[in-house]
């Protein structure tokens, strides 16, 4: 028995080691996860308080330090805030603990409902007793409400990428695609049919989840549900198209699995499903912005939590539509009906 076991073990090892792309992924993926986690969570001890500095860039926020003694306190983090409206929004929802305006006489906005705001205000008054106070009120968005759009979007991502990628691969390996190729069906028609089939399925599942979880959480979207549906369509399409592109010509399950993992893991962490990556390095946030899941989640949160209208999410919709077109065109162009 041991001999047979060893024979099979050896043959399988050879197969695995000779499948170079898969081997590479097996090694690269965990390494990537470790490096990614290090970038997101690593570095010096995390700050206790986040203070927005109005009208500054990242570099200017750092340069502003000498201007106000508060900025020298330890365990505080300064984030640039583009304009007063977005700064006030973040104070109101307790996403930052205090908003500072250093142009002219020092002004600050603090949320009187926020415990952290209360403490950081004490620090500011101690450092700069002359600062002008602008009180704001508002509850923090409950984590579960904040998480809800992310979870829905993540579920869509997995279903779109794995559901489509593996199915096309299976069709190719079994020879079913080769048989279809012998008919007048074109690659674009086949891919479009796959997209539409998965889209209807994922929309159904997402609607069921939205209604079901929403009822359990007593969640009501602040914005239009029709807009959410539009976003769900745009987001699903882009990720289905991405899945099809991955599976367009590969004939190895393990390679497709590796590639899909390589896409889904970073998206799951960088796209802000579980936590905001605002305090991560700036370049990492730019990378996150490229990911379709980030675009979907940012827009879905804007609609569900802030009641954003069509105008505000249009850039996200355009971006998702563009990605869909690019992925589908590339997928159709590089599509292979058969295993070589």
């Amino acid at each position: 028995m041991i001999r047979r076991l060893l024979a099979v073990w050896h043959a399988r090892n050879l197969e695995f080691l000779r499948d170079r792309p898969t081997l590479l992924f097996t090694l690269v993926l965990p390494l990537g996860i470790v490096i990614g986690m290090g970038l997101i969570f690593g570095g010096p001890p995390r700050p206790l308080f986040t203070i927005g500095v109005l009208g500054t860039s990242s570099a200017a926020a750092a340069d502003a330090r000498p201007a106000n003694p508060l900025l020298h306190e330890r365990y505080t983090q300064f984030v640039p805030v583009r304009d007063e409206a977005s700064g006030l929004y973040r104070v109101k929802h307790q996403q930052i603990d205090l908003l500072l305006d250093l142009h002219g006489p020092v002004r600050y906005w603090v949320n009187t409902d926020s415990p952290k705001g209360y403490i950081v205000e004490k620090l500011l008054i101690a450092a700069d007793p002359g600062a002008l106070r602008e009180p704001v009120t508002g509850q923090a968005i409950p984590y579960v409400d904040w998480l809800f759009p992310g979870i829905l979007a993540m579920n869509m991502m997995f279903s779109c990428l794995f559901g489509v990628g593996y199915v096309v691969l299976r069709y190719r390996k079994s020879g079913f695609l080769k048989r279809l190729h012998a008919t007048p069906l074109t690659a674009f028609e086949f891919l479009t049919a796959q997209v539409l089939s998965r889209l209807s399925l994922i929309l159904f599942v997402t609607i069921v989840l939205y209604v079901g979880i929403g009822a359990i959480l007593h969640f009501h979207s602040a914005g239009s549900v029709a807009l959410l549906l539009l976003l769900a369509v745009a987001g699903s399409l882009s990720m289905i198209a991405l899945g099809l592109t991955i599976a367009a010509r590969i004939a190895s399950e393990e390679l497709v699995g590796g590639l899909l993992n390589l896409l889904t893991w970073p998206m799951m962490f960088l796209s802000g499903v579980w936590f905001s990556i605002e305090s991560s390095p700036h370049w990492l946030q730019r990378i996150a912005d490229i990911l379709p899941l980030t675009q979907l989640i940012v827009a879905a949160r804007a609609v569900m939590l802030d009641g954003a209208g069509l105008a505000r999410i249009t850039p996200h919709l355009i971006y998702l539509a563009l990605m869909t077109l690019i992925f589908l065109a590339f997928g159709a162009w590089s599509f292979k009906w058969r295993v070589d």
């Binding site: 020879g175 012998a182 008919t183 007048p184 058969r338």
Partner: protein
Amino acid sequence: MPVSAPILEVRDLVKRYPSVTAVDGVSFSVPEGTCFGMLGPNGAGKTTTVEIMEGILAPTSGQVRYRGEPLGSRSREEAGILFQKTALQDFLTVRQSVALFRGLYARGLEVDEVLELCALEKLAHRDNRKLSGGQQQRLLLAIALVNDPAVLFLDEPTTGLDPQARRNFWELLESIKARRKTIILTTHYMEEAQLLCDEIVIMDRGHIIAQGAPERLLREHFAEVLLELPRHDFPEIARALPLKLIDGPEHVEISTHDLDGTLRTLVEARVSLRNLRVRPANLEDLFLELTGKELRT
């Protein structure tokens, strides 16, 4: 054999892969309404040639013309194809599988008509994964017929079937032949080719080594009959006799024009004729004669 304009013309076809030339300068034409057989051992280049004719594989050089035109949407719309190995989509019934393919063509037969033609009516609602080998092939044939094709490509359609299922399939093909379809058939089975084909090409290592009607080819190559004796009945000493011998794994065959004279020679040499069999030459013998190797290798 019906004579008509070629529906398919293959000219100087070459297909090279990095390590092998699968098809090496093959030319022939297929008259409309005939059953055209392609014979040869595995690796002879039959399937590659057929797949290029079907338009799903690009040749390295050479050309295939369908009704005088290069392959294109018309040939694709009018061809029915049964591959050597075809997987269907899981979880579909026989009827749904046929309907799926019917939906891919602009015109064709009704789904029920195709099911009836291939004797599948009673299996219409069965999961396509739960069919026997013969039933599975009948379903694949039904799918190949769904667009009422002018040309039907059948790549080793009866390989792996038991003798009964094979005979049933041949009967089915006879009925399709009667509808004046052009059939391109690749096969290992000589009986199949002799029964169904009006014209054949024999391929080996990417080349055509013989072409014509089966009966004519046999007449041209074999004016002789074959005497078959079990090896154990054929003493070594008899090998010295002036006979044309062909050694098989279990039998020794003697090819001769002069049956009486050969029988006399054997009797005089005291060779036992108890298990002697006399048979006409078949395509298998022709292949052996042309290449010196068995067809089914």
